[in-house]
Amino acid sequence: MDRPQRRIDSVSDALVEQLSPSIKAFNTPQGFEELYRTTFPRVYAYVASLLRDRSAAEDVTAQAFERAYRKRSGFSARRGTPEAWVFGIARNAALDELRRRSRGAVLAADAADVWSPGPDEEAERAFRREEVRAALASLDPRDRDLIALKFAGGLSNAEIARVLRLSESNVGTRLHRAVERLRKACRE
């Protein structure tokens, strides 16, 4: 890890200590349940965006939370916020799932399987959503991963930096480029 990144980490650790007093209670079952309630929909949204398979997303999300529950005693504030830690576990589980798919006979999931638009959705908004989905699908997987962490996961740039093991400024740069590519894909 380079020196600027170390400085960023130390600043982040200090912020975590100040802003997240619940970290110390995170090791208890009640503390973990609180973390689960705040992160579960976002973790699922991120994993589903990455895998684009509802069933697999459910399995991976459940697996990620179970793994986090078992390893919660080993969590350290040096690893960032608990949210970033859980997202890191979920990302590893999702990537392992992608590796298993690439290795063997796993049925290709329908990309639309993840999204389930309501019956009364307005046609224009539905059209807009399909347009954005198509644009997202055309992006580079790493850009999709970053956008999913930011928009579906709701993580801050510092938390994304923790998950992806990048510097925060690098995350900002990559996010800017990914959004620019998304906008361009939408216009096309």
Partner: protein, 414 residues
């Protein structure tokens, strides 16, 4: 639109949940961000209920699990292969270390043999070779070397290096005397007579000098020997010493020397052998000749007819008898010399020991040796443990790196 503006617009839209920018382009960006966020997949209600229940129950196991180690090997075959390779390497390292230690042990085990000098089994006579004149051989720190036997007036010398292993007088093992081969051992049909002698210099702590002297006498008695002379000077200082002139039956010489050597530290040990066969034969022949002459004189005396003749023969008989007595005494002396070995034992104060301080000095010495031994063992353990720890750390780091690479590669294949 630069990076900073983009990031701030995104954060503002996500925080407020609305597109608030006035600039149309910036507003479009915020609307896009909100569209992506709002379009994020949501968990199904039944899945959410199941997860809520599982979290509340603390994730109870759903099915019987495979054993952890087996499951790990099953799920990560490469890791299992790496583990097997590491185990093999560790086994090789340990085997090499053990084999190396075995050689060292053998060397160490060989050392005590030099502390106990022993005469060769047959002594100078058993391995006798024809020769004449006088000769001697010396073998330092090689007490097991056979002494060369020599014909005529031959000699062999064995000297041992000063022993550095202290043997407490009280710990002297008492073993049954082992008869040594006699001096009449026949080689090539000729009976040889050998005169043996030995000299021992024993180093003992000053306060033990008297005790060692008593034990020298005890050993001599035990093997049927004679103390011809002895002196022990206890001046209470550096000049304390002792000297013993012993005669030990040749058949018991080896055992007696072994026991004497164990009374204290052997600072030097010398063994000599001198072939006196020629002198023995000469004396024997001389006796036979004198007896024959005497027999002849007796015959002549019986046949003598005149007084003068009788007187002359009697005078010759006296002379012959005198010669015969002298030759017989010489033969007896030679027999005595070949039957009893001359052993001189010199007692000296051991260097580094001075009276009562010897115990403390020895204690410090033992402490130092114990510390050196402990450090040696510790270094050996570290020598094995550090490479193994480094190897395990390397394997762990390599595995983590490979896993991360494979995961990122899976993302690329998406």
């Amino acid at each position: 639109m630069n990076e900073e503006t983009t990031v701030s617009l995104i954060d503002a839209a996500l925080a407020s949940g609305a597109a608030t920018a006035l600039d149309p382009e910036e507003r479009a960006l915020q609307e896009l961000v909100l569209t992506v966020r709002d379009d994020a997949p949501t968990p199904a209600a039944d899945f959410r209920l199941r997860m809520d229940a599982r979290v509340a129950a603390g994730f109870p196991p759903r099915r019987a699990r495979r054993p952890r180690l087996f499951a790990s090997a099953w799920q990560r075959p490469r890791l299992a292969a790496l583990g097997a390779a590491a185990s093999l390497l560790i086994a090789i390292v340990v085997a090499v270390a053990v084999l190396g230690g075995g050689d060292h042990s053998a060397n160490v085990a060989a050392i005590p043999a030099t502390h106990e000098p022993q005469r060769s089994a047959a002594g100078p006579v058993g391995s006798a070779t024809a020769g004449s004149g006088s000769a001697s051989s010396s073998a330092s720190a090689a007490p097991r070397t056979s002494a060369h036997a020599l014909g005529g007036t031959a000699g062999a010398t064995l000297e041992s290096a000063p022993a550095d292993k202290a043997v407490a007088p009280s710990a002297t093992p008492i073993e049954p005397p082992i008869p040594a081969p006699g001096p009449d051992t026949v080689r090539g049909g000729q009976s040889r007579k050998v005169q043996l002698s030995a000299a021992l210099v024993l180093g003992a702590p000053q306060d033990k000098l008297g005790q060692v002297g008593d034990q020298v006498v005890a050993v001599t008695d035990r093997y049927g020997g004679i103390v011809m002379s002895s002196s022990v000077t206890d001046s209470g200082g550096v000049g304390a010493s002792g000297y013993f002139d012993l005669r030990i039956p040749v058949r018991n010489l080896s055992a007696a020397l072994r026991d004497l050597s164990q009374l204290a530290d052997v600072e030097s040990r010398t063994e000599n052998s001198q072939d006196v066969t020629a002198s023995f034969v000469s004396a024997h022949t001389r006796i036979q000749e004198l007896m024959a002459e005497r027999k002849g004189l007796l015959k002549r005396l019986a046949n003598a007819t005149t007084d003068n003749e009788v007187a002359a023969i009697k005078a010759q008989l006296r002379f012959v008898n005198s010669e015969l007595n002298g030759a017989t005494r010489q033969l007896q002396l030679l027999r005595r010399r070949t039957n009893l070995a001359t052993v001189s034992v010199t007692l000296a104060v051991k260097k580094g020991h001075s009276g009562g301080a010897g115990g403390i000095g020895k204690g410090w010495h033992d402490l130092g040796r114990s510390l050196v031994d402990s450090a040696s063992i510790g270094l050996r353990v570290l020598g094995v443990a550090i490479p193994i720890a480094l190897l395990v750390a390397l394997i762990w780091a390599a595995n983590a790196w490979m896993l991360r690479r494979r995961r990122e590669a899976a993302l690329d294949r998406l």
